[in-house]
Amino acid sequence: MNRHTFTERTLIFILATLILTTPALAEEISGKETQTARTFWGLAAEKLEYRYSDTDEELAYIEGDAFYGTDELKLRWLLEAEWDKAHSAWETLENQFVIQTPVSEFWDAKAGLRVDTPKGQNRRYGVLGLTGLAPQWLEVDTSLFVSDKGDASMDFEVEYELLVTNYWIASASFETRIAFHEDRETGVGEGLNHTETGIRLSYDLAYRSFSPYVGVVHERQYGAAADMTEAEGGDTENWFAVIGARMMF
């Protein structure tokens, strides 16, 4: 019961926001007439890759992003999914539907809903996040999630691109999840759950639309989350060789 109330509230919040923002987005027509542009869209797969682990595990992984909106307000769909070849199932499948608005020169706030439908338990979360560019060109994305069961957790992602040349780009990324509550059904333990550190070397083959890359990813679980994985007979630490492409349309 508690759970329904929360989901409904979140949905009402999202719907209300959508309704309120639609007129702002529909202003486009008059703008187009006179050499000015107001609404924009974009579609990107930041990571679309095949992962092969040191224990012969094979995974397909995608981190994608679609947006539509104005400078002031964007609707974004963020997708993160991991397909496990051995089990023919989505190990993780996260969809975030958020609205995003600038809060300072380099930072945007976002709010919305996250829907997880991997194998196993589905979850819905309310999302509140901050994304932007920190000094020294660190791209930071951090979100707070509260599940429909009332469990709270936090994601933190940071990425840095090093230009080896203007076409060869080395990207270092780090992401982690910290939970404030345990959610045993989804394998989330209280505290630091996991970290994922990656280094990828890409080449911009066709503008920035298609940039194939190779890389290495290190995944590690900690604390209660690691215990749960071990109990199921899984690995708590993995090294992956990855091959994939970054795409942007």
Binding site: E27, S30, G31, K32, E33, T34, Q35, T36, A37, R38, F40, W41, G42, A44, D71, P102, E105, F106, L133, P135, Q136, W137, L162, L163, V164, T165, N166, Y167, Y207, R208, M248
Partner: protein, 569 residues
């Protein structure tokens, strides 16, 4: 019918023909072949660039524009002084031209010189919708030449304007391939020391600004009269002739540095207005500007017209030759410039002081005076420290070669132009009107326009406000307004006022030149004055296509006037 009668009839009709020039122009989808790639674009009468329209001062122009596209279009007569309803800016001067519709422009030709026309709808202009205008004066020209050519420079990109805008919004550095790399770091560290280089990078990284932010959109092919470097547009001459070259920069985003190795160029006209001749080896032409130069060619050999982009990411090339097929050596592109701390000064003022630390509203008024002063000093001091820190590391670059100072560039700017042969590079300070058009008088008021933006988000604005949120600038007919441009961004903006002349303040009083585009370099303050002598509603914007589209645009309303026309103010 005998021949005499026919001739007689012909001469009777002649005066009727002479009072007006009529053109029919169709707006079409065209294929544009740059030699590097072929792309669909938009052109006039089946070609891009469109036809060169020729008029004589004093006549009436009638131009029928038929829209063959499946979207709205418009034609703006860039730099022409005309009734505002004929100015061709949809949403401001008229509703636009619907698909299939023919719109007739009719206006008196009130000036002479070199101008151009282009679409003011969507991204049709970057897609190829432009052409040249040449107007012969009523009186004779104050300079001599034997033949003249239009040299229309453009920057054709393989991506459509819509796509470029979208990519810039997704990632502002999408097209920047001149960014500093690991290799640059190593090279610089070897020269200037590891820590100095690191400190420099950390300083710029701390502000999240790039030294390499000179050109937003790279990857274009520079064209001269629609021909790419390999297609080599050629203008013919006979040795001993004086050739007038009418340079028009119709590119969407590219400033060009123009030279003709082996020839001196005498600049006789800027933005259509005669200037006191000045002989130069090279000049920079901002987006939408025009410069007429005269070259006197003695030798029977070919000369390259070489127009390098300001950021050195591309070039346009053509040839002057005694006969078709001759070529001269094409120079290499020079090293790409990098911005310095001097170019960032405007940005720092804006960010560090105006915005955050001080809080404008709190600062402005009496209550704050005492307390705020102290605060301001602290802020100033803080900034000076940073600036001092930068001097050592960041400026090392330019301190070696003493650059000539040009008041239209920030002192120590990475963009200060230098002629390839070490000779004379045209400065705005060299431009003096041949015959002042207006009586000199004091301005009635000053309007400050800060050129603002956020590079990371690819947002551009004036006084921090984008077009869609801005109130029009209201001027009164009969005023003489002094505009103060303060460039707080790190990019150069060619500001274009429609319908009225921009009198650029070069400190020469009544000899200040008349222009229609004023280029404002980073971290500089530039003044222009305008005699408000054209009633109606006018556009005013940065002429970089994607800056205008992103919001660096304003409507100007001129109230009053002898014949107040319709308009909604």
């Amino acid at each position: 019918m005998n021949k005499q009668l026919v001739a007689g009839l012909f001469f009777c009709l002649l005066p009727a023909v002479a009072i007006g020039a009529q053109y029919d122009i169709t707006v079409d989808k065209v294929q544009i072949d740059t030699g590097d790639f072929v792309e669909e674009g938009i052109g006039y009468n089946g070609a891009s660039p469109g036809p060169t329209l020729r008029f004589k001062e004093g006549e009436v122009a009638t131009i029928n524009v038929t829209n063959n596209l499946d979207e709205m279009t418009s034609v703006h007569w860039h730099g022409l002084i005309l009734p505002f309803e004929q100015d061709g800016v949809p949403g401001i001067s008229f509703p636009g031209i619907k698909p299939g519709e023919t719109f007739t422009y009719e206006f008196p030709i009130a000036q002479a010189g070199t101008y151009w026309f282009h679409s003011h709808s969507g991204f049709q202009e970057p897609n190829g919708a432009y052409g040249a205008i040449v107007i012969e004066p009523e009186d004779r020209e104050p300079f001599r030449y034997d033949r003249d050519y239009v040299v229309q420079l453009t920057d054709k990109h393989p991506h459509s304007g819509d796509r470029i805008m979208r990519n810039l919004k997704t990632s502002a550095d999408y097209y920047n391939r001149h960014q500093q790399t690991v290799g640059d770091f190593i090279g610089e560290a070897a020269e200037q020391g590891f820590f100095a280089t690191l400190k420099d990078r950390l300083m710029w990284g701390g502000m999240r600004m790039m030294k390499a932010d000179v050109e937003d959109v790279q990857g274009f092919t520079g064209l001269i009269n629609g021909k790419g470097p390999a297609q080599n547009w050629t203008g013919l001459f006979k040795p001993g002739e004086r050739v007038r070259l009418r340079f028009i920069n119709s590119s969407a985003m590219t400033y060009f540095d123009v030279r003709i190795p082996g020839l001196e160029m005498t600049v006789v006209q800027a933005d259509g207005n005669n200037v006191q001749p000045v002989t130069v080896d090279e000049f920079r032409i901002g987006v939408a500007e025009t410069y007429d130069v005269i070259v006197r060619i003695k030798d029977e050999k070919a000369y390259t017209i070489f127009a390098e982009s300001m950021g050195r990411s591309g070039y346009a090339r053509g040839t002057l030759a005694p006969e078709e097929g001759m070529e001269a050596q094409v120079p290499e592109l020079r090293e790409a410039p990098l911005l310095t701390m001097a170019d960032m000064a405007g940005h720092m003022d804006h960010q560090g002081m105006d915005h955050e630390a001080m809080g404008h509203p709190a600062m402005n008024h009496e209550a704050m005076d005492h307390a705020a002063m102290g605060q301001r000093e602290v802020a100033d001091e803080g900034m000076n420290h940073e600036m001092a820190g930068m001097d050592h590391a960041g400026m090392g670059h330019s301190s070696g070669n003493a650059l000539p100072t040009d008041p239209f560039y920030a002192s120590g700017s990475g963009l200060s132009p230098v002629a390839a042969n070490g000779g004379k590079f045209l400065s705005y300070s060299d431009l003096k009107a041949q015959h002042p058009l207006y009586e000199e008088r004091d301005p009635t008021r000053e309007i400050e326009l800060r050129l603002t933006g956020n590079m990371e988000r690819y947002e551009w604005s004036i006084n921090g406000i984008k077009y869609e949120h801005a109130d029009p600038i209201v001027l009164q007919y009969g005023e003489r307004v002094r505009f103060k441009f303060v460039n707080e961004t790190m990019m150069t903006h060619p500001m274009h006022l429609h319908g009225m002349w921009s009198i650029l303040d070069v400190g020469e009083g009544k000899w200040n030149p008349l222009k229609h585009v004023i280029s404002v370099a980073p971290a500089t303050t530039v003044y222009m004055e305008t005699e408000v002598d054209a009633p109606g509603e006018w556009a005013f914007h940065c002429h970089l296509s994607y800056h205008a589209a992103a919001g660096m645009f304003r409507k100007i309303v001129v109230e009053g006037g002898p014949e107040q026309r319709g308009g909604n103010s």
